[in-house]
């Protein structure tokens, strides 16, 4: 890190730093008079907007080039995408529904990452929660009232998700074995076990079913929907989970302890924190949210689990939460963005006759450009000039660059 006195002169006006850092120009003209006082909160929001929107635009431009190369009209494609994901009521509902599992998974990742633990086994925890709920929900609905059944199912899903992290947790806490290996291995086993549960234990063996799957939970017995839409209350659970975790991390002593653990394990030891207990607690909490996500997805949307179903939500959420810097509010915004991209992408690719993995490409480009944008931003804040920024300055605002 360079000392602040090497910061170039134009950095003293905090606002210009932000606006021309990544925009490379266009936002310069209209917002320079707007910011007079050092409203750092607005500043922050503005900056993170910029760090989100520019990569988004860049990703769409690159994606558009692919579309052009394939003989599709990029503008029409994106128009369909936005229309299908946000503007049309049914699309917006789909987008919100998609948010539910992603939010819960993100909540689990926020806890883990804040404590410096890479729980990459989300898929296994998710699938086990989903499979068990898929297997038990329909038969439970016959013997108990719906509310009790739903609560019980969510409890089961969360518990199983948490249980599935115990081995990695103990191995990390006791022997310091890297959790990336153990959670990935447990994830493989978990996905296999989930498939086994569906095929053997919970198989719906009525004739005429092609792919093995669990019995179907009656639509009337699923999670209650909101305000007459198809959006189920799992979305609310997800939002509460993320905000709850955010509050826990920022406002409670447990959150502080986890953050210390994440920042420096040795420091946590010296501060007298029970590192082993905290590590295990983090794993359990993280796994619980993953399992819960699986349960919610089954109780709210699917109603059953097919043996070959594995949406792999866990993997996409990892970079997302990381880019949101484990901030709950930003995570919610990013999850919304991801849902828009994936739902809009799925529907627009279908219209355009493209494979629906094209949506993945756009998501990946957004993620990569966002990381890159963060990099340039952090360099700017440290007062280091990148080659590109210098070049952009020279081209776009000759006066400033000359002044340096």
């Amino acid at each position: 890190m360079k000392p602040t006195d090497t910061v170039p002169p134009e950095m003293t006006d905090e606002h210009t730093v932000v606006s021309d850092g990544l925009a490379g120009g266009p936002s310069n003209a209209d917002d320079s008079p707007g910011i007079s006082l050092g409203s750092s909160r607005m500043e922050k929001i503005r900056r993170s907007m910029l760090l989100t929107i520019l990569p988004l635009v860049a990703a769409m431009v690159v994606g558009g080039l692919f579309l052009l190369a394939l003989g599709r009209d990029p503008l029409a494609f994106y128009a369909t995408m936005i229309h299908r994901a946000i503007i049309s009521p049914s699309g917006l509902q789909e987008t919100l529904i998609r948010m539910a599992p992603l939010l819960l998974i993100s909540a689990g990742l926020i806890v883990a990452f804040s404590a410096g633990i890479w729980n990459l086994g989300g898929d296994g925890q998710f699938m086990l929660g989903a499979a068990l709920v898929g297997g038990l929900a329909a038969s439970s609905a016959e013997v108990m009232p719906r509310g009790l059944m739903l609560v019980l199912m969510l409890l089961i899903a969360g518990t199983l998700g948490a249980v599935w992290t115990i081995i990695p947790a103990l191995m990390k806490a006791r022997y310091g074995i890297n959790e990336i290996i153990t959670t990935l291995m447990m994830s493989f086993i978990g996905v296999n076990l989930a498939s086994l549960l569906v095929k053997v234990m919970f198989l719906d063996d009525r004739p005429g079913i092609q792919t093995p799957r669990t019995p179907v939970l009656d639509v009337a017995d699923r999670l209650p929907t909101l305000f007459g839409t198809r959006v189920h209350s799992g979305v609310i659970i997800g939002v509460i989970a993320v905000i709850g975790v955010h509050i826990m991390m920022t406002r409670t002593s447990l959150g502080l302890r986890l953050k210390i653990l994440g920042a420096n394990v040795k420091a946590a030891h010296h501060a007298g924190l029970g590192v082993s207990k905290l590590t295990v607690a983090t794993f359990l909490l993280s796994g619980m949210f993953m399992g819960l996500a699986g349960g919610v997805e089954v109780l709210g949307v699917q109603g059953f689990v097919r043996a070959d179903w594995n949406p792999s939500f866990g993997l996409v959420a990892v970079p997302l939460v990381f880019l949101a810097r484990m901030n709950g509010w930003v995570t919610i915004a990013f999850v919304f963005l991801l849902s828009v991209l994936s739902i809009g992408g799925e529907l627009a690719t279908r219209d355009a006759g493209l494979p629906n993995q094209f949506g993945l490409l756009i998501v990946a480009l957004v993620l990569l450009f966002m990381t890159v944008a963060e990099y340039f931003e952090s360099r700017r804040l440290r007062g280091e000039r990148t080659v590109w920024a210098t070049m952009a300055d020279r081209i776009l605002s000759k006066g400033d660059a000359a002044g340096e």
């Binding site: 153990t182 990935l184 493989f188 076990l193 494979p355 993945l360 990946a364």
Partner: protein, 307 residues
């Protein structure tokens, strides 16, 4: 057990192990240099696609492997720039790479082959007089596709380079203590860049093996988690290519066992057999693995003068 069963089992085990070995070897090298390559699966997938396209165009399996290596290497360049040069987070970028390649290859596949589904011919294997006629051994040891032998040689060469050469020392030291390496006048960024690049090339070869030898065609998302499996194997191998090769063979054997048993009418769930190696590894880790030997600077970007 009949001769045919044993042969099928061993041949299947080797066929399933080779892609894991190649990709895992790449991961192992880059991990020793301190770069955790989560995008390995993506590099494999790109290699599978690139290898297939080149082999289809040239009609040569060898050109296909070169194409796969180049494709995997090109993808790893993203990692070189973003993670090694700029020090961005390796896990985030790795997952970004994986998703991007999944999207890109599916798109390209749909644009080119969606209606034709071309296939490649069978990969060539040696036929040595006498030796190839020995029962079981003739097929298993002397009748494999050529790439199998290349892979085994690569494992031993990588082991030798890592242990005995200055290059290997530089790689291992960079993973443990990049500051010291830098102070000694070795270019940390260069070492890590080359290690990451070799991971991409080897993963590309592993992916190309899937499309060129195992299946003879390219299917979207055909790597099916093998990249992550290779990643786990590389981490478990504790930096030793031989252990990695043995681990890959164990997994290959489990895969082959499922198929073989089913052919012979013994119905055992593939889920159980596929999970078994992981269960065994976890038990072994719990009983014996009281610590792990991962490089101490793994996944930490090196910025000169920081910390």
């Amino acid at each position: 057990m009949s001769e045919a069963l044993i042969t099928a089992l061993l041949v299947g085990a080797i066929a399933a192990a080779v892609p894991l070995m190649l990709a895992g070897l790449g991961e192992l090298i880059s991990e020793r240099a301190g770069v955790l390559n989560v995008g390995l699966e993506g590099m494999m997938l790109m290699g599978a696609y690139g290898g297939f396209v080149v082999a289809l165009a040239t009609g040569s399996t060898w050109m296909g492997f070169i194409g796969g290596a180049v494709a995997g290497g090109l993808v790893s360049l993203v990692m070189v720039v973003l993670c090694v040069r700029w020090g961005l987070d390796q896990i985030v970028v790795g997952i970004g790479i994986l998703l991007g390649v999944e999207g890109l290859t599916s798109l390209l596949h749909a644009a080119q082959f969606a209606n034709t589904y071309p296939r490649l011919g069978k990969a060539a294997a040696p036929s040595i007089p006498w030796l190839s006629d020995i029962p079981v051994v003739g097929r298993v040891v002397f009748g494999e596709p050529y790439m199998v032998y290349v892979t085994l040689i690569a494992v031993f060469v990588a082991g030798w380079v890592l242990r005995k050469t200055p290059w290997g020392l530089a790689i291992r030291a960079t993973g443990e203590s990049p500051e010291a390496v830098d102070a000694a006048g070795v270019n940390v960024v260069l070492v890590r860049s080359l290690a990451t690049l070799s991971a991409g090339v080897l993963a590309g070869l592993g992916g190309a093996y899937l499309s060129l030898v195992s299946s003879g065609n390219f299917i979207p998302l055909m790597t099916g988690g093998r990249g992550f499996m290779a990643l786990v194997l590389a981490m478990l191998a504790r930096g030793r290519p031989i252990w990695l090769a043995l681990g890959a063979l164990l997994f290959g054997f489990a895969t082959a066992l499922t198929t073989a048993l089913q052919i012979f009418g013994i119905d055992i769930r593939p889920e159980i057999v596929n999970s078994l190696p992981f269960v065994v590894v976890l038990v072994v880790l719990t009983l014996f693995g009281r610590d792990d030997y991962l490089p101490s600077s793994l996944a930490l970007p090196y910025v000169r003068g920081e910390r």
